[in-house]
């Protein structure tokens, strides 16, 4: 184990993968690697080592997404970095109608081993266009895998799985996570998809969160502890495929569920989780399922409004206290 930042852990996974597999090419390499808190010497060595496999393509997101599919079906394992998720909207057609469809429509002849990486979330004054969390949209489309890691160790292990996966995988991270630190296992390891993790055990209420919201949920759990509420924090880690069991098992134990979601709640990942639990763990529920998310507005720029809109530990604590009437 070594303490590393989230960015370093992702970079580790990429390095190991590229070392092992010569068919991996990175598109949008500069913005993925540079300025993400890596030691400059590591950055330089990495770039020098893989000159022909690191590309900085034109600002043509649409064709880039498509080039990914075309080269993946032809035998490469492309890793495509869109940067901010708002830019990927220009490529939605290719992601959904080509990447997600190819394997099924070919009756299994084709495989699409490709990773689309993007940053989601309220990064801090990203304004309306650069604060978006589109994960539920991708999850709504069959054929795409959607991963939302929260910790450095998860980022490394899940990224190894994403790169090895023969399916198109949306690897969605949060800019605010890049500098966060955590213990990361040394060497090569992979964390399977559809395997959620209880990040903190508790008995009074289940809090489900993913990505940056896991950190807020853990903060909230600390604060709730002081109020005598013992919260369990569950991180499903992947949206598609989804580990419903880890959530339902927890709810069966605690009888209460609060979901912390960074996106707008309408048709969000939180809504789907709420619906699943409401249907499959109805008998265990002692109170309504509460969703805490951002209001249904474009993210405002002004810091006062942004703070008001951002789901965080404080809003979660309020919601839990209200639910438990404490």
């Amino acid at each position: 184990m070594t303490e590393k930042t989230f960015a370093q852990a992702m970079f580790d996974a990429l390095s190991i993968s590229m070392e092992q597999d010569p068919t991996i090419s990175v598109f949008g390499a500069s913005s993925f690697v540079l300025g993400r808190g890596l030691p400059p010497a590591d950055e330089k060595a990495f770039i020098a080592k893989y000159t022909t496999r690191l590309l900085d393509p034109p600002v043509s997101e649409n064709v880039l997404a498509s080039v990914g599919v075309g080269s993946a079906t032809a035998g490469l394992r492309p890793f495509i970095n869109f940067g901010t998720s708002s830019f990927a909207f220009e490529a939605h057609n290719q992601i959904v109608n080509e990447a997600g469809n190819a394997r099924y429509m070919s009756g299994g002849q084709l495989k699409v081993p490709l990773v689309y990486h993007m940053f989601h979330g309220i990064r801090g004054i990203g304004g309306a266009q650069h604060s978006q969390s589109p994960q539920s949209m991708y999850a709504n489309c069959p054929g795409l895998e959607v991963v939302l890691p929260a910790t450095p160790a998860d980022a490394k292990g899940l990224m190894r799985t994403a790169i090895r996966s023969d399916n198109p995988t949306l690897f969605i991270t949060h800019t605010k996570l890049l500098a966060t630190k955590g213990e990361v296992p040394d060497g090569d390891y992979a964390i399977p998809f559809a395997k959620g993790e209880v990040k903190r055990a508790g008995k009074d209420v289940t809090i489900v969160a993913m990505s940056l919201m896991v950190l807020e949920a853990l903060k909230a759990a600390d604060q709730l502890k002081a109020l005598g509420i013992d919260a369990e924090v569950v991180d499903p880690r992947t949206v598609v495929p989804f580990d419903a069991k880890v959530v339902i098992d927890s709810v069966k134990k605690t009888g209460r569920l609060v979901i912390l979601e960074e996106a707008s709640l309408v048709c969000s990942v939180a809504s789907e989780i709420a619906a699943i639990v409401a249907e499959q763990a109805f008998e265990a529920l002692k109170g309504p399922i509460i969703r805490v998310g951002r209001p249904h507005v474009p993210m405002p720029y002004s810091p006062s409004l942004e703070a008001f809109c951002t789901p965080d530990a404080a809003k979660l604590v309020d919601a839990v206290r209200k639910l438990l009437k404490k």
Binding site: S25, L55, S66, V69, A74, L76, N93
Partner: protein, 333 residues
Amino acid sequence: MPEIVSREARLSLLERMLLMRRFEEAVIHAAAKHKYIGRNHLYIGHEGTGAAVMAQLKPGDLAHTTHRNHGHIVGRGADPGRALAEIMGREGGLCGGRGGTWHMTDTSVGFQSTSAMVGGSIGLATGGGFACKQLGQGNVSVALFGDGVLDEGISYEAFNFASQYSLPILFMCENNEKPGRRETSMLAADRLLDIPKALKIHTMTVDGGDVEAVHAAVGEALARIRKDQVPVFIESQIEAWPGSHQHKPEFTTGETDISMAWDTGKITGPHADWIRQEPILRYVRKLLAEKAAAQADIEALDKKVQAKMAKARDFAEASPFPQAEGAILGAFA
């Protein structure tokens, strides 16, 4: 560059064209017989282009195509029975009946993908070209698409990408826009070629009704692509089949009668002009005129193709529909 000289090569080219044609005729028959076989965009009239391209691709080369794909797939060597079964949604189809006419794939002959999105194939082919270059085995990627694709922004992005990264790609545009008819594409450019040219891609134009002319152009292009690792754009000008816009395919110009090549008196009806210039009859006339083949040779060749298609039809008709639970399998590897 590869002028076709040998008689065998010329007859083989004709056979490929005939197979493409007889295949589409089988589709029309199937459409009349079965309620749903999807919305087919037939390849009739395009054979001169598809055959010339497919005849010259090597093993390992990749092809990406569009909704008007039947000719490409069988022309490249996919089993016509399995292709027809796919169109009819049967388990024995190339994709197990999941893809249908718009999504036929056969990776065993380098057929990567068929996309029913206008502009779908051009980006995928660019990715294929990138893979060919990275993998370094000397293969090329071919994008086959219609003129409407030039309306889509992704085609510019793809040309720019291919040009900038020097990718081995043949952009094969089958332009069947008919002067005087409502434009199938609405392009301000006077000539399609001006667009790839603006992005520094070598361009060529060819008469798509003349299979040997297309063959020569494609041969030259492929040689250049393989040698210099650059993209080339070819516009093949095609006289659109008068029936090609129908969702329910019909024998608008009749079932092909190969003897019309020498017995021109048989050509009648509202579409006589189209039939007179269609690429198969035109090629047969040329072969006969140049004494590369006799009428009997041509008839024998056609019989051979028809027998092959009869078998293909039997296979497709006999193939069952997939089991219902099959619908939920296969989305993920």
